[in-house]
Structures are given as C-alpha cells and as structure tokens.
Subunit: 137 residues, 3 copies
Amino acid sequence: MASSPASPRVVVPTKALPAPRFRYSPVVVAHPFAFVSGLVGLDPATGALATGGAYGQTVQILANFTALLQEQGWSLSQLVVARLFCTSPDGAASMNQAWEELFKDEVPPARTSVIVAGLPLGAEVEIEFQLVLTQGA
Amino acid sequence: MASSPASPRVVVPTKALPAPRFRYSPVVVAHPFAFVSGLVGLDPATGALATGGAYGQTVQILANFTALLQEQGWSLSQLVVARLFCTSPDGAASMNQAWEELFKDEVPPARTSVIVAGLPLGAEVEIEFQLVLTQGA
Amino acid sequence: MASSPASPRVVVPTKALPAPRFRYSPVVVAHPFAFVSGLVGLDPATGALATGGAYGQTVQILANFTALLQEQGWSLSQLVVARLFCTSPDGAASMNQAWEELFKDEVPPARTSVIVAGLPLGAEVEIEFQLVLTQGA
C-alpha cells in the first residue's frame, strides 16, 4: 500500500493527526507542495470532536496542524492557502476568532472561506491546507 | 481558442469526459500538475446523470475519471488530492461507499469532503481531482 | 510581517483588490503558481458589495481579478483553475452568465462550481483563482 518509489507522489506518514475515519491519506507531498486533507477538530487523545463548538473545534484543528508542522519540520510561513468550511455564520465568527489568534504575529496564507450545509462526523468546521516545501524551479 | 504555444498552461483535449455543459476546460495541465474540473456523474453515452442516486453518480464520476487516466496514460497513484461535494449526509455515505471500492487496493489521495446546498445540473455528487504528472524539480 | 527572504512563499502586495476584511493574504505566490484568495464582489471604491445581485457581484469579482492581472502583468491564459461558490441555483445562472461574458473569446480554466449555504459578508458569489506563472521545470 506504500507509494511506489518511482511515484512523484509521496504519502507522508504522520502521528500528529488523528487516524482517518474515511479512506484518504492525511498528508500527500508532490513537490514542491504538501497537501493536507480537510481536517475536522478531532482530539487525537480521545478520537472525538473537541468541545467548545466551532471555536473549540477550530482551536483543535489548528493545534493538530501545528503539531504536524513540528513533526515534519515545516513552518506556518510555508502555508500558501487554506480553505475553511463552516456550518453556520455564527460558527464562522468563532472560527475566525481562533484563526486570528494563530495568525496574530504571522503572515496569513491565501484563504477561501464558505458556509456549507454540513460536514463529516457532524463537525462544525473543516480546514484544508496547502504548503510549499521548497523553492520551485 | 487553443492555448498559446508559449503558455505554461495546456488545455488537454479529452474524449473520456462528457462535453462541458458550462464554460470551462475539463482538464488543464500546468506542470507538474493536472487539474480536473469538478465532475458530476454524467453518463457519456447519454449525457444524463447516471441512475442510482449518490452511489450511482459517484460510480459514474469515478468511471469517467478512470477513463481519463487510461486515455492520458496517467494512474491513480498520481492522484494527490480530491475534493468531494455531496448534497446530503445520506448521499455522503453512499458516495464514500463507491469511493472506498475504487481505493480498496490503492493508496488514496489527500481529500476534502463537505456537504453543500446544491450542485450543477441537480447532481448529488461532484468531485474535483488534482494529479501530479512528473517529479517536480 | 513580510515573508522571509528565504521563504519559498511570497505574499504579493496588490492595490487592485479590496483590503481584506478577514485575516488572510489576497495573493500568494509559490512557484510556479499564484493563489488568489476567494474573492467576493466588493467594489474597491466603496468597500461594499456591488449591486445587481449575483450577476453584479460576479462582474465585480471578475473586474477586480482582471485589475489584478493587469497590475501584475499576468493574463487570463495563465489561469489554471477557478472555484466558484454561489448561494442559490438562480444566482448560479446569473454567475455563469457573467463568467461566460469574460471567457467569450478566451479559453476557460478548469473549474469547480457548487452551491453553498452562505458566504462571508452576505455575498452571493465567491470565486477562488489559481494561476501558473512560469513553465514548471
């Protein structure tokens, strides 16, 4: 099930993110980019959604993402774009609050944010990330 | 209407996918990536949505995508990320079932999945794909 | 707050787009791609959503995007993929009308279009763009 050595796609093993509940790879690298699957706010310790509604779930997503960065030796300054999905306008305000705390002293990435009708596992927030790993040729 | 030879963007002609009903290019390559437009489950033989609800439509989308891979000489192992849109939680379960059948013996890509309020042509499922074609420099 | 010189990510200053209302960078380049944040139809002159519903907002988004292209020396032929979000089926028809006018004589990009439950600032349409800037190695 591992990527072929000849493949330009590398599935990155990670212990920083909760185990997938569906059939996907949490992190895939295709140079010069790393693609992180849309994350919901699962607490790796319990496997359940974090408490605290959209705010708490966003804090958890960003904590999981930050743990991934530390594990892989990546940094927030390599984040090029994030896509944020939330299930209500009120939730979006809470999501934005948690987001702004993370990027208080960091240059933020490009971003697309929409309100959707629902998310996997009954989550209120889902965020997808794309990083650049090296200078493109 | 063809891409300029000097353009780093190449619009890929394909007979594997149904003709666009809207103004977009089904497949665009910008090295090292190929971008496949969000596909709904149109049967190329009839031009209509496949029967069988979200499950049947997902099977059709994945069949069309697989036909594209064969036509272009690409493989599932080059798929880096997919974005799945579905119009109901029940539909998402059916969509996941068809998805899991395709990736039963294949390493899956990164993935983002959300439930939306609606899709073009009254579809229940839409999936967007991004592949990596060559090793990035 | 500027990108580190060593960073492969470059945040592009622009006067063509309305100032962000949330914490994100409107345009980020990671070679060979430029990522443009999801834009809603804000009139740069007033800072308010353009009039004319989904059609008027889409015209405004595409005018802002076109101004960005001119400012940066980029062209529509470098647009590889766009993601369109709209809040109603009727709005989607209007959005498509404005879209088709822009691409009347231009090869369109890959595209994903979905109907969502809501958008920031009460917008009816949001569009995200990705361009390729140079031939990938």
